[in-house]
């Protein structure tokens, strides 16, 4: 399954036909990116059960890391991305100290508050470009600067690289001690503790990894848009997008984030293209309805739906024998 999907993603932009249009390629890049981002969120929110609405902060720190390396210091984005990711991990650890003591709604509201604080601080922080943000200069394209102007194909394979990194990590995690410990903390902290699981350490590990990977996605995002400002990356709407994509696809499942992104991102981009610049919000109307339906009718998301179908299919097949 995993290698099949990898192969499919690898050849997708090479298939002749409608997928060759620049717009289709743009949709493909975004789909992969948001799948990655949602998977990064899923490590903490899905596997470890700590539903954070603050991940756009880490995404934003990564974006600013790469952006400042290029715009402010005239370097390649690579060191910026790495430093941004490390910084995001550190910030996540500092933030989680007070937040992990909070339960339920209090935790959720604290993460909202953190997004708002970061958003507004970045708006007035001169060093990071303030409300105007950072605009990329036109420099040499290629892998060194991670920047292309003619086609999106390289971006696509860049996103594919990110996809392989993040999804392989989660695949490894699922089959190892860390994955089991994350789920144990999610399903019952007290029981896990009694079995020798240091739940605080596990949660901190989860958020640091999650923030690190989220920041790498942010760095990609800024390289793709060639500009960044606070509302673009650090906003509640952005945070919610990662959460909702994962929930749409299937919270705490390996394929959930990819499925969610593959449904939502094309829907969003094509409806925006169809209904004009402001989009008239049609994509978000549909998305809103989808979320309400999924949460109230099938909380396990599309993956839950698929599992239901396969068990039914197996059951009917078993009946035929």
């Amino acid at each position: 399954m995993w290698y099949g999907v990898l192969l499919l993603i690898a050849v997708l932009p090479l298939i002749p036909g409608p997928l060759q249009s620049p717009f289709a390629q743009h949709v493909l890049v975004l789909t992969l990116l948001f799948a990655c981002m949602s998977q990064a969120w899923n490590i903490l929110g899905g596997y470890c059960g700590q539903v954070s609405f603050g991940h756009s902060v880490f995404f934003g720190i990564g974006a600013y890391g790469a952006g400042m390396a290029v715009v402010t210091y005239g370097l390649t984005p690579w060191p910026g991305a790495i430093i941004g990711a490390l910084l995001a991990a550190i910030v996540s650890l500092i933030i989680s100290y007070p937040c992990f003591r909070l339960k339920g709604h209090y935790f959720a509201i604290a993460t909202f508050a953190i997004v708002e604080i970061f958003n507004r601080l970045f708006m007035v922080w001169y060093w990071v470009g303030g409300a105007l943000g950072l605009d990329y200069p036109i420099i040499e394209e290629g892998w060194k600067n991670f920047m292309w102007f003619q086609t999106k194909t390289q971006y696509y394979y860049g996103a594919f690289g990110l996809f392989i990194l993040i999804f392989s990590f989660v695949r490894w995690m699922e089959a190892n001690k860390l994955g089991y410990y994350l789920k144990a903390v999610r399903d019952g902290q007290e029981a896990a503790e009694a079995l020798g699981v240091n739940s605080t350490a596990v949660k901190l590990t989860a958020i640091a990894i999650s923030a690190f990977l989220a920041a790498l996605c942010g760095a990609f995002f800024v390289q793709y848009n060639l500009r960044v400002d606070p509302p673009m990356v650090m906003s509640l709407d952005m945070s919610m997008r990662f959460v909702l994509i994962t929930i749409l696809g299937g919270l705490g499942t390996f394929w959930g984030p990819l499925l969610g992104a593959a449904i939502l991102i094309p829907l969003q981009e094509y409806s925006r293209a169809m209904w004009g610049g402001l989009g008239g919000g049609v994509d978000l109307i549909i998305f809103g309805i989808l979320i309400v339906l999924i949460v109230t009718r099938q909380p396990k998301g599309v993956m839950g739906f698929i599992n239901l179908l396969t068990t039914r299919f197996k059951a009917t097949k078993g009946g035929d024998d």
């Binding site: 001690k177 089991y180 144990a184 019952g188 029981a191 009694a194 079995l195 020798g196 699981v197």
Partner: protein
Amino acid sequence: MALLEVRNLIKKFGSLVANNDVSFDVEEGAIVGLIGPNGAGKTTLFNCISGVYKPTSGKVFYEGTDITGWPPHKVARLGAVRTFQVVRPLIDMTVFDNILVGAFLKTSKLEVASEIAESCLKMCHLDDHRDKKAGSLTIGLKKRLELARAMATQPRLLMLDEVMAGLTGTELKEAVDVIKDIKSRGITLLVVEHIMEAIMPIADKVVVLDSGVKIAEGPPSEVVQDERVIAAYLGEKFSKRLREMKA
């Protein structure tokens, strides 16, 4: 030196004294029963030993190490592992994965952990339920899962909190067999039990709590003769009558 030593342990909740000056030892390789009527403070004592609560005063030693007030996961890592009276299955994980979480305490390798988990699965007769979600099990099976999960951590001291309460006759017999099997593997057991009949035949020693105070300690055969124990379990009136009858 005993494997577990509890010394002058006091636990207060506000003005309520749940455990008052309790001391006892759990000798290596023994089955020690901790019994007493409802509300005697057995589970509180258990929580103090396993680190869920911090005792108000007093000490707990494991292998001579002072573990008073250590967090539960550190106590578990030393080899003293507990189960819960109110079962706490990891509901969204399968039975096997639940046990696997326990098995990961002593190893980081999936293959090794799987082997351990597999054997604990068999030991507790959970083979048929391997891939079910833990949340979907019956209460009896959940209790067995608690036991299997704790065993998977390969403890030296296993602390069982009322694993036999609420079981049917056959289930009870199975549970007793499992406990004997655990003892034969050289694991020390501290068993909290409300039902005296279940624990008496297998315990090497019982400690009796009543209203937070230790009222008796010794081999089961002696303890059942103890008047204060009888009084605690059967009420003052009945024990008086018993005394009169004896006289």
